[in-house]
């Protein structure tokens, strides 16, 4: 790969150019426009007044924003690790070419096809305390049903469970694709060594799918930090702002108050948060690779 003259070297650029062109025009350019807008007091219809870091200062002093950041981080923490672990276990169990496994794979994927509107509609029925499925169960056990959507301590876990149920399908697929890359002969060797399941998993499977694991964790973190529809539709961010996420706050500020400048500033703050968290994850996993 080290050989090749100038044309050879430019050939690579030709392969990436189509994507980079679109990426630059349709994603990066609007991002830069947004960063520009965030330094203004701006509305949706073109009014602009330069206020420097004013929007950022307002955001940092806004208790509603603090609460939203806290809620968002907590949600990500309650969703990503269990979701990843569950998806990995299911992928390991279903990584086989039998018909039964295919049926199970389909079942665990099925919830992903629903749009967020329907997911929240269904989970409303499960969670709502006077007629929901969980209420019926609590009734049967002779207990007061828990008010999942109106108790500040319960609403975040309720949204987390809803989200895990909804999002399971795709990580399973990613893990399955990753497991395809683990050569079967390695397992055969391990089986000959009479290695236990845990040992095989710890020393063969896990290292082999480390990149997939990183990918799943990063994607889920990025996705869950942008959680929006579930909170908006199930609780509207309540009670008392107890489930307002950053994106819900951005939505309210942009479309409810028309404060485009403030909304974009909040979006840039979210961008920075996601960047820091994902870079941290990336660095934690890849530094060992580069060292070794």
């Amino acid at each position: 790969m080290k050989s090749g003259g100038a044309p050879r070297r430019l050939e690579g650029l030709a392969f990436v150019a189509p994507f980079l062109l679109l990426y630059g025009v349709v994603l990066i350019w609007p991002l830069l426009m947004g960063i520009g807008i965030s330094f203004h007091r701006a509305d949706l219809f073109g009014a602009r007044e330069w206020i420097g870091l004013g929007n950022y200062a307002t955001a940092l002093a806004d208790p509603v924003v603090h609460q939203a950041i806290g809620n968002t981080l907590l949600l990500a923490l309650l969703i990503v690790p269990p979701l990843t672990a569950l998806a990995l276990l299911l992928a390991l169990a279903l990584n086989r070419a039998t018909r039964g496994a295919a049926v199970f794979r389909g079942i665990f994927f099925s919830s992903s096809v629903l749009s967020v509107t329907i997911v929240t509609l269904i989970w409303r029925f499960i969670l709502t305390p006077d007629a929901g499925l969980l209420a019926v169960a609590a009734d049967a056990l002779g207990r007061e049903p828990l008010p999942f959507l109106s108790d500040q301590a319960l609403v975040i876990p309720a949204i987390a469970i809803t989200t895990i149920w909804w999002s399971l399908g795709f990580p399973i697929m990613l893990f399955l694709a990753g497991l395809q890359q683990v050569p079967a002969d390695v397992y055969e060797a391990a089986a000959l060594d009479r290695a236990g399941r845990w040992t095989t998993f710890r020393h063969i499977t896990l290292p082999a799918i480390r990149r997939t694991l990183l990918l799943v964790v990063m994607l889920q973190t990025v996705g869950q930090l942008q959680l929006f529809g579930q909170a908006q539709l199930l609780t509207g961010g309540g009670p008392g702002g107890g489930s307002r996420t950053i994106v819900l706050a951005i939505f309210e500020v942009a479309f409810g108050r028309w404060e485009l400048g403030y909304a974009t500033a909040l979006a840039e703050i979210l961008f920075a948060m996601i960047l820091v968290v994902t870079l941290l994850q990336y660095w934690l996993v890849t530094r060992r690779e580069d060292a070794g």
């Binding site: 949706l44 509603v64 609780t235 009670p239």
Partner: protein, 432 residues
């Protein structure tokens, strides 16, 4: 679309251009072409969607010289409208809540409609007082009003009778906060069910409507000017304290969102549901259905006077015209469409909403509709928010969130009201 226009210019003659003026009408209320198809029989249609669909069909049939393009948007349609205006491509007529008009009017995004309404033969003097207050801003008419939406007590009379709260076939309603508590306790003791059915989850408008109504009743000025709200007042504390008391004693449903509360009332799970005029239609249908918990036991009444004067906080739907360059023939087409709609306002009032035109209100056929005699006063006494109130829906969200917290006991009342006031005032400070 622009590319397409350019292409058409270049390939002039590739398709015979339609010379008729086109008007784009954008509305919510859903899509029901399936049920009504091409029907033009307005009188036979019911539901908001059905009546509008047949009306539009009829207009097309009667006015073949105008091209009517109908755009149905998801409720409430404001993100789409904002996007269209920002992109410089707004529709010609749009459904808008009257409480939202100030936002767009203040930003110069709406055409004053005095002229087009005159051309349409619609006399603004015939608007009901509540409707006029909803569409006239700073002396100019910014919309053609379509109805008045009010909040009411929807009442299960069977349960009220069981609680001994019926006299001469009419529900007995409280005349003071103490009476309300007493009757609610009496109701709960007799029926084992909560007196009020309310939504406390994801339903900020619920408590805000109650608070506004009873502040208006006490003569409080809620919005003294365009930059302030006044909520941290003795009057407000009294109102919230009453509803907190009801909640604390279990005299109202708890932990429900709006759909749950709606279903609860239909199942006969509580006495009184303080929700909008828009539920009259569906509940009337239930009241006519044997086997329903509401069968022959449904009544409505305005919010009772608990403090001060009779009062009702109202809103309404209206047709606005976003600002855009339009030809003379397009304006004429819009005028004709508005005039046509106005003639059918009586049909719209079959949905449960109050008509926007005084003459309709006075017809026998309107008075003959079920329950309407009980609420007709709202069209004249109903109070809209002052014309300078902007961002009503955002503000309602903020206040409602704090009220929910106060009523359910998450926050002390004083602090919730102070927080609501502070948050709204800060929002106003950021507005241009």
């Amino acid at each position: 679309m622009r590319w397409c226009g350019l292409l058409l210019l270049l390939l002039a003659g590739c398709a015979a251009p339609d010379q008729r003026p086109e008007i784009v009408v954008q509305r919510f209320f859903g899509e029901c072409g399936v049920i009504h198809g091409g029907s033009t029989d307005v009188a036979a249609a019911d539901t908001e969607c059905g009546i509008l669909t047949t009306l539009f069909n009829r207009f097309e049939a009667e006015n073949p010289d105008i091209r009517l393009k109908v755009n149905v948007v998801a409720w409430p349609g404001y993100p789409q409208l904002a996007a269209q205006i920002a992109a410089g491509d707004p529709p010609d007529l749009v459904t808008m809540h009257q409480s939202v008009i100030s936002d767009y009017q203040d930003r110069g995004l709406l055409e004053p409609m005095d002229g087009v309404l005159v051309e349409a033969g619609v006399d603004a003097a015939t608007f009901t007082p509540a409707a006029r207050a909803g569409v006239v801003k700073y002396g100019r008419v910014y919309a053609m009003p379509w109805d008045t939406i009010g909040r009411l007590f929807h009442i299960n009379t069977r349960l009220m009778a069981q609680a001994g709260l019926m006299r001469d076939g009419k529900p007995v309603l409280p005349r003071s906060p103490d009476e309300l508590l007493a009757q609610a306790r009496q109701f709960k003791a007799a029926t084992g069910k909560p007196y009020l059915v309310q939504a406390h989850v994801n339903a900020p408008d619920f408590h805000v409507a109650l608070l506004y109504t009873y502040l208006l009743a006490q003569g409080d000025t809620i919005f003294p000017d365009a930059r302030h709200v006044r909520l941290d007042t003795p009057a407000a504390r009294q109102v919230v304290a009453l509803f907190r008391q009801l909640h604390a004693e279990g005299l109202t449903t708890r932990n429900q969102d709006f759909p749950a509360a709606t279903a609860r009332f239909v199942q006969g799970g509580g006495g009184i549901f303080p929700v909008g005029t828009w539920m009259i239609g569906p509940y009337d249908a239930e009241a006519a259905r044997p086997g329903s918990a509401l069968y022959r036991s449904y009544a409505i009444a305005p919010f009772p006077r608990l403090w001060g004067q009779d009062a009702a906080f109202v809103d309404g739907h209206a047709w606005v015209m976003p600002r855009a360059a339009r030809s003379r023939s397009e304006r004429a087409a819009i005028a004709r469409f508005l005039g046509f709609l106005a003639r059918y306002n009586a049909d719209w009032s079959r949905t449960g909403q109050l008509p926007a035109f005084q003459p309709v209100l006075e017809t026998d056929s309107f008075r003959a509709l079920p329950h309407r005699g009980d609420i007709v006063a709202i069209a004249s006494t109903g109070t809209q928010l002052p014309e300078h109130v902007r961002r009503q829906s955002a503000i309602q969200g903020l206040i409602g969130e704090e009220l929910e917290a106060a009523v359910t006991g998450i926050k002390p009342i004083d602090r919730a009201l102070a927080d609501a006031e502070r948050r709204v005032n800060r929002l106003y400070a950021e507005l241009p």
